[in-house]
């Protein structure tokens, strides 16, 4: 029996094939397949091709269930760059792949937990919209934590 294949399309219009029984680890895809059989291309308008390639690699893993936890950890560890992890987390959120989302977010949290404020802003490209006075007010309120 030949296995059914789905085609996923990234934001930049690249096509990726994946076997349906692996793709349905994504709850989003599972629901689409259930709804209309998803015979055609499934577009993922917020996922770029590099990230989608990673997601496909993850979905294609051949791990025994008891080793899965370690595999996910290692999988995100090997892609320890924050921008990549954030893209991965967003893709996992859109596709509703809980384990991958959890692992990617956990990894980012691990990476930034000892950062200074400035480093956090830089890593996540956030603009500081606080005045020094406002920051001082928070520092004073939560003196014990600084």
């Amino acid at each position: 029996m030949s296995k059914k294949t789905l085609t996923l399309m990234s934001k930049d219009k690249q096509l990726f094939n994946i076997e349906e029984h692996l793709a349905v680890q994504s709850v989003t895809i599972r629901n689409m397949v259930k709804e209309d059989g998803a015979s055609s291309v499934i577009p993922l308008p917020r996922v770029d091709s590099e990230t989608l390639a990673l997601v496909i690699e993850y979905l294609n893993r051949q791990q025994a269930p008891e080793e899965d936890e370690d595999y996910v950890k290692k999988f995100v560890d090997e892609r320890g760059e924050i921008p990549t992890l954030l893209e991965l987390a967003q893709a996992a959120l859109d596709l509703d792949i809980k384990k991958l989302m959890d692992a990617a977010c956990m990894k980012v949290a691990d990476l930034i937990k000892d950062f200074t404020l400035e480093e956090v802003r830089e890593a996540l490209r956030i603009e500081n919209d606080r005045t020094p006075e406002e920051e001082k007010a928070i520092r004073d309120e939560f003196q014990w934590a600084f």
Partner: protein
Amino acid sequence: MQVCVQEVASPGQRLVLYKSSPLRSPAGYMAQACNSGILKWVEIEDGLDHHSIQHEPVMNFDMDGCLAAPISSTSMIPGGSVNGLICISQRGAKLTDGEYKVLRLFQGDLSSHPHISGRPSLLDEAEVYTLVAPEDAAGSIFTFDLDKETFQLFPSPPTEPGAMPKNRGNLGVLKGCLCKLDIYAFQLKIWVMKQYGIKESWYKELVITQPICDPQDWAMKKIMSVSLVVKAWALHSGEPKFKPWGTHSGGIVELEIFSNFLLFGLYSKSICQKIMPPINSAVENLPLDVTVDILSRLPVKTIIHCKCVCKKWHNLVNDSYFINLHFSRSPSGFMAHHVTLDGSISGMLKWVEIGDGLDRHSLRHEPAINFDLNGCLAAQVPSNESIPVGSINGLICIWHPGVDNVYVCNPITREYLTLPRSQNNEDGCGVIDYKFGVNSLTGEYKVLRIFRVDFPPYPYVSGRPSLLEAEVYTLGTSQWRSLGQVPYRFGGFRGTFLNSYFHWEIYHEDAPGSIFTFDLDKETFQLFPSPPTEPGAMQKSTGNLGVLKGCLCRLDIYAFDLEIWVMKQYGIKESWHKELVIAHPFCAPQDWEMKKFMYVFEGFQDGTILVVVGGKMLEYLPEINFFEDFSLLNNCFVRMTHRPSFIKLKDIDSERVHAIKR
């Protein structure tokens, strides 16, 4: 061609009103009916896997005779819409300072300027882009900057080598990016400028072949950019139920809703987020869900630091969604009271975090979560007289026995509330215990107060049981409620809290080892199934309740061994199961005295069990079937499990809450 710019007075209150919820106003389009002055509004919804385009008649606007000048409505040409204001000419808004400007283009000296072709598009800092089509540089773009009020050349898409001569090209906006629709004899190409102003970011998004069949439509395509946005939008979202719109089929289908109407632009009641250009970072557009998820996994101290990162994060971590998500992931641990060298208890509660891995557990003192009881609450009480009676959802209940004051505090949010004084047993001399718990059905936090009514017992008669009464206080209310007499006599010294119930051993010579509970929901005392008595078992000296991996358990102490019973299914008598027998645990006679106060504290996946004996913590190791001491917890008196949380007392009772000092 000449230009004049007129500034429009601030639109005032109306705009301010809209600004308060700038993100919520839907995006949509205005379309003008072909032979009338009616503007028809069409709302657009753009979901991840689904979009919808819907006519909303409430927002229709009839231009007929609504303005001062008596002009025929059919000759009125709406020129644009910004922030919900519609103009009868080209109009833009400078978003940085909210100045509104109207640009008027009129025929002047034809030779001195490149001539304008195509429709202008408004984007970002309200610059207007228009195509220029001088013979030698067809398809170039220039802009009018509403800020500097100047015209400038602007990067245009690259010319593809060998491409056919194009018929026409028109600008538009596609998902917040400037785009250009190039029209060739047999196909359409859509170019998108992914990063505003960066020439290299022009990207060929889409090619559609033979989109239009009728010859008269070919004439129409010169002005095709107008409807580009809606159509391309539909093309792009790829909603599977609208197959003709999917990119794989590559066709364009007319929307019935727009027939006989002329689209003239994006219309939204308020500042439209969609006209913001995407910044070069996925991070910038990171969904809130991802941000919240990451923040909820950070250590408490880092989360507080993150309040300083930006205003958005500050609001995020104050939100109840975040608070609940964080608590669901908050590490488990316990509070231990620090004991000074001379043996007295200091006011410092030390927090120890528990890591429970499948094959390994860990205990780690985390000083950041330490809580110093010294002088942090209203009453000036020596710190060694503060007794933490329990911790639920990160909230700690503290009792000052001497003055009988009771507080509930959250060391993380730095809040505490003082419970009102009870009218019964006012001096507090007869109070034997307080208990703090939460009704998991209603989320109500309750404090139980148990006191002797026959205090002081004169004349003192040894063995005479005291008459006990109880009352309960629900956080957020104003008074204690009496529950009357406690129908059972306390055997064990602690009340173990689990599943909205407190559990105690009954003191009874004929029926040792019975259990009774207090139901926080119904507020009643009741008998509870206890472990079976084994035939021929030795008389046990004592038994104490505890919690082991989420199950109620009892540690039975016999002359020569210990037994641990676990109730696998809560409330089911038959599920009591003898988990463990440990032989000869103590040698020294003074230890035998201590074991009266021995109970199971926590169990780990690797089989290790934490046991507390008179405040001291021991670790039961399954591989040696025996106990080991903790050097980590030397000089500590183990009090209670505690998981840090950001739960706000202010949300429970705003009136009684004060800030913890320092």
